[in-house]
Symmetry: C2
């Protein structure tokens, strides 16, 4: 509902507090979302598998991140009724489209990491 507005959103300022893109940025913003999407890129994975793959993520944060992604329709959660329970997470079609922009960011990071680090050191050395 909120989406169907003039194209002013496109060219207009995403700097407005009410801009819908901010909400998305908030999602991408948190470190784990990006890493979870990355970890799911080459196929589905179980909960504990993700937890092992993504170093440093707590169980709480992983759950929370997965719930958020599921709510956004970017990740599908499938429960296989077995004992013990088996839960699989997979990227949806929409989730897979996230790959391109995230990849762009990642590549930028890798390409510019050296420069950024050097700049930081120079900045810190000077007063």
């Amino acid at each position: 509902m909120v989406t169907t507005q003039s194209d002013s959103v496109l060219h207009g300022s995403p700097y407005r507090a009410d801009c819908p893109t901010r909400h998305i940025l908030d999602r991408i913003g948190d470190r784990w979302t990006v890493l979870v999407v990355g970890a799911l890129w080459d196929g589905s994975a179980r909960f504990s598998e993700l937890r092992r793959r993504i170093e440093g993520v707590s169980q709480k944060m992983l759950t929370q991140t997965l719930r958020g992604l599921e709510r956004d329709g970017l990740v599908r959660r499938t429960v296989h009724p077995q004992v013990p329970v088996r839960v699989e997470y997979t990227l949806t079609e929409a989730g897979r489209t996230l790959r391109a922009p995230l990849r762009a960011l990642e590549e930028w990071s890798i390409a510019h990491l050296g420069d950024v680090t050097a700049s930081q050191e120079a900045y810190d050395r000077a007063d």
Copy 2:
């Protein structure tokens, strides 16, 4: 905390806690960095101008964000010795290269906002 070595990190998993790309993601992660870069895209701007353009940013956060970007070599800060002081912020060459990946993200947001919102509502309605 500062790592900088071992090129294995480059091609290795960005899921490792020590991966340098995380540092970049942390920067991009916070809402203000993205918005500041966006606000500076069409030229330099003064402090108060930025503050006006970016709705909702506090003086503290704007300063902090600009300092961070300057330290990273993405923004150049120029002080014009006048009374009152005039300070101009401009994107550096490196900073300008950020445009492409950020743009990609922004476009993804706009393109998928509708779907995401719909998915959220469905998720919340169900149980």
